[in-house]
Symmetry: C3
Amino acid sequence: MTIHPTAIVSEHAQVHSSVEIGPFTIVHDNAVIAEGTTIGSNCEIGVPASLGDGSPLRIGANSVIRSHSVFYESSSFGERLVTGHRVTVRELTHAGDGFQIGTLSDIQGHCKIGEYVRFHSNVHVGQHTTIEDYVWVFPYVVFTNDPHPPSEVMQGVRVKSFAAIATMSTILPGVTIGEGALVGACSSVVKDVGDHRIAVGNPARDKGETSAIKLKDGSDRPAYPWKHHFHRGYPENIVAQWLSSVQQYED
Amino acid sequence: MTIHPTAIVSEHAQVHSSVEIGPFTIVHDNAVIAEGTTIGSNCEIGVPASLGDGSPLRIGANSVIRSHSVFYESSSFGERLVTGHRVTVRELTHAGDGFQIGTLSDIQGHCKIGEYVRFHSNVHVGQHTTIEDYVWVFPYVVFTNDPHPPSEVMQGVRVKSFAAIATMSTILPGVTIGEGALVGACSSVVKDVGDHRIAVGNPARDKGETSAIKLKDGSDRPAYPWKHHFHRGYPENIVAQWLSSVQQYED
Amino acid sequence: MTIHPTAIVSEHAQVHSSVEIGPFTIVHDNAVIAEGTTIGSNCEIGVPASLGDGSPLRIGANSVIRSHSVFYESSSFGERLVTGHRVTVRELTHAGDGFQIGTLSDIQGHCKIGEYVRFHSNVHVGQHTTIEDYVWVFPYVVFTNDPHPPSEVMQGVRVKSFAAIATMSTILPGVTIGEGALVGACSSVVKDVGDHRIAVGNPARDKGETSAIKLKDGSDRPAYPWKHHFHRGYPENIVAQWLSSVQQYED
């Protein structure tokens, strides 16, 4: 355990001996941090949550939490969590392995997040959002939950596997984004988007199949499903699976 | 006064003996912090403002300022201010009791804010904005002020009591949002919105009376005025007032 | 050098003796900070960048970096850089003199930024963006780069001199904003905007010449080019140049 002498780490926290913790970072009592994880400076980890369920904040092995981030207790993350700076995650959110959260993103809590989900900067996730595996969310996307704010009614958004939601789009309460679907930039999505469909605009309208979009790299290949050409940072065994599905597709 | 030993609190600041201040927080000279208030870690409180009027930052009693927040001198807040994390408030903003400011919100200064106003995350408030009592502002809403940027002309936005402005909406300079009005998500509001009217779209258009929206909770009740059904966190005497107005309404 | 005793400044960093550094700030090894510069509290300066080129972070003379900001190594800034709070700048971004970056802005790296460029709060700049001299960018503007996200194709945005991009607008990949052009608030700019043209809407459409917009200050003057009437904070010699071009224009 390499803890900077200025860091304040509760003796009640369960921090693996290999964990590194930067200057001016606070680790509260109810946190469990697994081996190989690095936490940057000026973070606040395991913030007590009056609305939590008493369970600890769990950070999986080999994670990287960058400076100025704030994580509450009663949330959990698989292995290889990677965050940008100034990330906020409230209580009762549970994410699988390989979750990436960009700088300034704000997860309000009570969310379910699958495997290898990637958020770019400034993603705002309202309570009761469900995000499946391999989803991409780009900057300034907002997931809402209240159909007539303010109220006590909560209708979380659901995003299915491999969907991509482009920058500055808002998903309205209760909407489901289909598997492999693409939401274009600056969209306001007021109704469900089907699997592998494109939705764009304010309000968003259906613009056909994602497979119609060609890669602007000089090739003739379709840009979607993106798993056929974009593999940076995913584990080899997952990419191998994706590529075998391409071969099936091409056969 | 429970001040963490790493906090740096000016001896010129007037901090009540019951105030709690977290690690790595700085309180500058010109701050007055009332009884029962808690300030989290890594905050900067009472930042000197070259454009201030010399008056101190005043934080009312029983407030909670969460970690990484920055408040300038020459602004004042009533009792029970509650903030999320990483809030920024510049000089010459004055707010009443019960103000809530969500994580990452940014108040540029020279603003007037009424009683029990609630900002969700990432609300951006340009200079010279006026917000009346019991207003709700949701994530990624921007209040602008310059009709032809950049210029020296400032036309602040005015939001009247009980209005609700949904996520990702922008209010253009000089616009007034009427009492109890609803601005739908992702709207660009270019002209005044009447009392109890709905405005939605880019550019926003009138969509009728707010009373036409029904609560999606299985009841047959109207969702607006929201004060008839949403009371979480408001003082009992205020809610009693609101409910007596419902009875009048129903009589 | 006035370094607060709680600041952690690497002995390998090259910090001029006149530099002031606030409490709880970290300066890493690979940083060069010129004379007269002030760095606020809780900053992280010269963060090691695995994708950098080994060059240091260079901060020019007489700069002001406000609290909670994060700058990576391998980026450089001219004289009189001024930032708000919680600014993030990644590696391989190079800016000229007089750059202003508002609170919460996030520059992703690999960007070129000219002289006297001004970003208001919450500007998000994707990799490979090019911004020329005297450009204004208002809150919640996003510069994108991937035409079919996620992919390995990067088409950065280019913004030419004196352009102004109003709040909550998104510039789509590969788009060029012309010299002195105005992008109205809440726009989604999907194709190039000509010099001195107005583009507004989602998707943005051409709305004529910027010179058609009149100043709302009681005068009869055009609001654009803004350099004819807005001079706050620019060096005298630059303003003199601008005004001589007005005279030519009026002759």
